[in-house]
């Protein structure tokens, strides 16, 4: 669809555990044309992936709608795997997903829960990107006192 572009930049993870200063990593860039109007139902978007700050896991986020709609709730599928073996990564106490807008220093202000699925993935409902611009999905895990984040950038354009 031609009315808008959603440019998705899958960035590598930024350090966020143990008081580290985040550092930008390399980027695998995918660009595609999509619309900001009503999304097509049951159409999965492109899977975006990023390795976590400590390298413990690889996060894959797949929007369950294509394109991601502007200012409308949508869902994503999340899988975590061991980057070396490709096996499911489960060595954590908690996992969460969030979306933030760095230029504005604000985010969704929603705690979207993750629901385990039969295929080993997790599903989050109710994400909402209410402004055009650069957003970042944050996939965080906590294991004891250790935190680790995988960060994936999404640009929501007209």
């Amino acid at each position: 669809m031609r009315n808008s572009l959603v440019t998705m930049l899958a960035l590598s993870a930024l350090g966020c555990g143990s008081g580290e200063v985040p550092a930008a990593g390399d980027a695998g860039v995918t660009e595609r044309i999509s619309a900001g109007s009503a999304p097509a139902e049951e159409t999965r978007g492109e899977t975006l992936e990023a390795r976590s700050s400590g390298g413990a896991f690889l996060a894959r986020v797949t929007p369950l709608v294509d394109p991601i709609p502007m200012n409308e709730a949508f869902s994503v599928s999340l899988t975590l795997t061991d980057p070396e073996t490709g096996t499911p990564f489960t060595d954590y106490d908690e996992v969460s997903i969030d979306a933030r807008m760095p230029a504005h220093k604000h985010g969704m202000l929603r705690d979207v829960g993750l629901t385990p699925q039969d295929d080993g993935s997790m599903r989050a409902d109710g994400l909402l990107l209410h402004m055009y611009g650069h957003w970042e999905f944050h996939v965080d895990i906590r294991k004891g006192a250790r935190f680790e984040r995988a960060q994936i950038s999404v640009r929501l354009q007209y």
Partner: protein
């Protein structure tokens, strides 16, 4: 404009021509001229700002689109008996003649409030209600002012008594919601309500109406709450009718879509330049996005305060807590869809300090008669609003929770005038006059 943009703009016209005249018999007309040479991206942005779509459904209120409920709600909206001293109705602050505001900086009901009265035009297009989003539906929003001592200052017990005791209102009510539970509603004091905020619910310091509420049986409290909620749902049905679209800007966008030069002229050259500013240099569209010119979310734009100095109003920080805790939210027992998308939205709400001092982005449609502007009515007219964003003079709390992208726009005199002309072109068609006053008794529709 690129070839792709021209083809995109002309596609509907080409299709129409093909349907009317047969294949490839006529050459396509050149794209209609605009006063401003809008780029492809600008055209894409403009197309997303019009038309105003149909109202989003409200599944938490099964009576949301019931005309009989709307008529009852309209009657209640204008009924001054629903206030402590019988002098204030919803329409006192939401005056139809003033764009459903009151022309005052701070609302004046039974007492002076702490915020400016927001308009009700197109209010059903918002997902959160009021400046701080303390309600997640129109019907939930309609309930709180009835018992707020600064607004109507009465009690749900008295409201029920008014409806039950007025044959027309009661008949209209029962036609929509079914028979009242008369047995549970009688033999009680008029003024009963639960404690609000930090009020004591029991003991000598509790207000008399609150103590009386505590003395009621569970069935009585439930029966009163049912009527109270139904009144809110009826008023919501009425407020859903307060929609005004079809502004000169909408006709301009139609003209772009249909390649109709006459419709494009609906937006003056001055306003077209203002539109280019709105989506360009001024970037107002960042928050005032979509066809209702609001992202429906909350921002802290460092506005000057009425009292001077730093802001003290927590805004969304409080509003989020209130809506999440209320039994009247979309996930609560009075919702007609407590497991739907609206319920999920309120259940997911995060309590975060970053929401401190944030207020909901107001719609920019139908600004006429709505001055002053902002949550404290800080700016006396739209020119003052534009001037603020041009220079940020008097901005508060920079570097704290405020929007980080807020910078002085440094607009020229002409640019400010153009922007004002564009905003004036968002004034929609006139509403049905029958919606702007209390309905006649015969119009209650039984």
């Amino acid at each position: 404009m690129s070839l792709q943009g021209v083809l995109g703009r002309l596609a509907p016209a080409l299709l129409a021509a093909a349907a009317a005249c047969g294949p490839a018999q006529e050459e396509a007309a050149p794209p209609v001229e605009t006063a401003v040479p809008f780029s492809d991206e600008q055209v894409r942005r403009i197309m997303q700002m019009s038309p105003l779509p149909p109202l989003p459904p409200d599944a938490t209120n099964r009576h949301a689109d019931d005309p009989l409920a709307a008529r009852l709600g309209q009657a209640l909206f204008f009924d001054e008996r629903l206030s402590a001293d019988g002098s204030v109705s919803c329409a006192t602050c939401h005056d139809p003649a003033r764009g459903f505001t009151d022309g005052k900086q701070l609302a004046l009901g039974q007492q002076v409030g702490n915020r400016h009265t927001p308009t009700l035009w197109n209010v059903a297009h918002h997902r959160w209600l009021t400046w701080d989003g303390r309600a997640d539906s129109l019907w939930m929003q309609a309930l709180d002012p009835i018992e707020d001592p600064r607004e109507m200052g009465t009690t749900r017990g008295k409201l029920v008594r008014v409806i039950a005791g007025d044959p027309e209102l009661r008949g209209s009510y029962e036609a929509v919601f079914g028979p009242m539970d008369v047995a549970a509603l009688r033999d009680r004091p008029d003024d009963v309500r639960p404690a609000r905020g930090r009020e004591a619910a029991t003991g000598p310091s509790a207000p008399e109406a609150v103590r009386a509420w505590g003395d009621l049986g569970d069935d009585q409290r439930a029966a009163i709450d049912r009527v109270f909620v139904h009144a809110g749902k009826a008023m919501a049905a009425y407020q859903r009718l307060l929609v005004r679209g079809d502004a000169p800007f909408d006709r301009f966008v139609e003209g772009l879509r249909e390649n109709d030069a006459e419709k494009v002229k609906s937006l003056s050259p001055e306003a077209q330049r203002g539109l280019a500013m709105f989506i360009g240099k001024a970037n107002c569209v960042l928050c005032h996005s979509g066809p209702n010119f609001s992202d429906g979310e909350f921002h802290n734009n460092a506005l000057p305060t009425l009292h001077g100095g730093e802001a003290r109003d927590p805004g969304r920080f409080d509003g989020a807590k209130v809506v999440a805790a209320s039994p009247f939210n979309a996930a609560g027992p009075h919702s007609d869809q407590p497991d739907g998308p609206a319920a999920l939205r309120v259940r997911q709400l995060r309590q975060s300090s970053e929401a401190w001092g944030e207020f909901r982005t107001p719609s920019l449609r139908n600004l006429g008669h709505r001055a002053p502007f902002m949550h404290q009515g800080q700016f006396e007219d739209i020119e003052a609003v534009i001037e603020f964003y041009s220079e940020l003079e008097g901005a508060t709390g920079r570097g704290h929770h405020q929007e980080q992208v807020l910078v002085p726009l440094r607009l020229t005199v002409g640019e400010k005038r153009d922007l004002g002309a564009f905003l004036a072109a968002l004034e929609g068609e006139q509403a049905d006059p029958g919606l702007l006053a209390a309905p006649s008794q015969s119009a209650l529709g039984r």
